[in-house]
């Protein structure tokens, strides 16, 4: 398939955009990464995702696929010669889908709440986040069955869903001066996170924490209406 046959519309800081990129890398599929300009939405984006107007969008041929986890499943189902992202057993698939949904429904919203949270509110959100991460740490034990990833020997669906949050998790840890991934409370996830970030399919796509912190500063400044720092 020619490179221009597969396009990903996105932006480098977005954890959701990372997901299809990791999936395509796992499948060794070449693609064109079209980055949206921060603060505006391209015609192509508005045409390809008229309902939500959000990134990521995968454009395969000329057909758009939207919603990051739906895109990952699509990639898994189309490029069957590469390693499988979801297992073949229906029960295992249901478990993987459950935990990926958990990341989206519980972790991401809590992480967003950390932004600007202080005092009691911050304490409550940190507690929520820690609780969720502890549950995922336990899930890792069951899903990995002694292997390096949730998916087993190689990166799988939950790895992609959860791993994509690591960049922003680390930014939150630095900015809010909290420890979320902790050797005491989530020992398995701490080690898994290092393995995930070092993986060939991930390392060029995972943004550096420092770059994300800079990006976050700009975001916060824009949100407050002040001019961004140079």
């Amino acid at each position: 398939m020619a490179k221009s046959d597969v396009k990903v519309l996105g932006a480098w800081p977005s954890p959701f955009v990372m997901r299809p990129r990791i999936a395509l890398n796992l499948k060794s599929v070449d693609y064109e990464f079209l980055q949206e300009t921060f603060g505006s939405k391209s015609q192509l984006l508005l045409q390809s995702n008229p309902v939500h107007k959000k990134i990521p969008v995968l454009i395969h041929g000329d057909k758009p696929v939207c919603e990051s986890l739906i895109i990952v499943q699509y990639i898994d189902e189309v490029w069957t010669s590469g390693p499988s992202i979801l297992p073949s057993d229906p029960y295992e698939r249901a478990i993987e889908r459950f935990w990926a949904a958990f990341v989206d429904d519980k972790l991401f919203p809590s992480l967003r709440l950390m932004r600007g949270a202080e005092g009691e509110e911050k304490k409550a959100v940190v507690e929520q986040l820690t609780e969720s991460l502890v549950l995922l740490d336990e899930a890792f034990e069951k899903c990995s069955k002694g292997k390096p990833f949730f998916g087993g020997d190689g990166i799988g669906y939950i790895d992609i869903a959860l791993g994509s949050i690591l960049g922003w998790l680390r930014v939150t840890e630095k900015i809010s001066r909290v420890k979320l991934l902790d050797e005491a409370k989530t020992p398995r996830l701490v080690k898994w996170a290092d393995r995930f970030c070092a993986d060939g399919a991930v390392k060029d796509v995972m943004p550096e924490t420092d770059k994300l912190i800079e990006f976050n500063k700009m975001l916060m400044a824009k949100m407050k209406g002040a001019p961004p720092n140079q």
């Binding site: 309902v51 919603e67 739906i70 499943q73 699509y74 189902e77 029960y91 249901a94």
Partner: protein, 222 residues
């Protein structure tokens, strides 16, 4: 191989209804257990310790949670009859997209109307506007097809039709008519209701209205 299927459910839950329809479409025999949501059973708390919610499908002792995940599971296990998802990956992605839309947006505007029932004037109008914006998007997606799935009843139809049982309640409290604004949706509803799996699953709308009234009193919204 034994095939024990138990469904932990609540009669008025649109999410639980999805499972009953899917199992009926596949002709799967199962044990239906009604939960009292104010007094959840030990079994429910054991089978869904994370969310403690229904529906939960227990297949040979192993729990599956989250309604759309359960429907996909049912489709994959009982794959020889009545496919609920298309076989083409692009069509499957579209089906998942629209079912996800129903989960995110329809449920959201339903909640919006619920909360706005007691309010009047501008806020009521705003909630009503949002409600119909979402319904019109769905109407657009349905187009002239008999079902969201095309010629056959499928995943998106299952995800949305269960909300029909609550239409009368919402129309009563929201003081609007869904048929007047979205006739194609109602036409689609009537088509779906001709299917035995749907007609036998969806509870009577008047019963849902009675239940909704009770709930509102309980939450002090009356």
């Amino acid at each position: 191989m034994s095939n024990e299927v138990v469904l932990l459910d609540f009669w008025a839950s649109m999410f639980g209804m999805r499972i009953r329809i899917a199992l009926a479409e596949k002709g799967v025999k199962y044990e239906h257990r009604e939960e009292d949501l104010r007094n959840k059973s030990d079994l429910l708390l054991k089978m869904n310790p994370i969310h403690k919610k229904i529906p939960v499908l227990i297949h040979n002792g192993k729990p599956v949670c989250e309604s759309l995940i359960i429907v996909e599971y049912i489709d994959e296990v009982w794959k020889d009859k009545c496919p609920l998802l298309p076989s083409d990956p692009y069509q499957r992605a579209q089906a998942r997209f629209w079912a996800d839309f129903v989960d995110k947006k329809v449920y959201e505007v339903f909640k919006g109307v619920w909360l706005m029932w007691a309010k009047k004037g501008e806020e009521h109008e705003a909630a009503k506007k949002e409600f119909f914006e979402i319904f019109k998007i769905l109407e657009g997606e349905l187009g002239d097809k008999p079902y969201f799935g095309g010629e056959t009843f499928g995943f998106v139809d299952i995800s949305f039709i269960t909300f029909y049982s609550w239409f009368h309640a919402y129309e009563t409290f929201g003081k609007f008519s869904i048929e007047a604004e979205c006739p194609k949706i109602i036409a689609w509803v009537k088509r779906c209701m001709q299917k035995e799996s749907v007609a036998k699953t969806l509870p009577d709308q008047k019963k849902i209205l009675e239940y909704a009234v009770q709930l509102r009193k309980r939450f002090g919204l009356e």
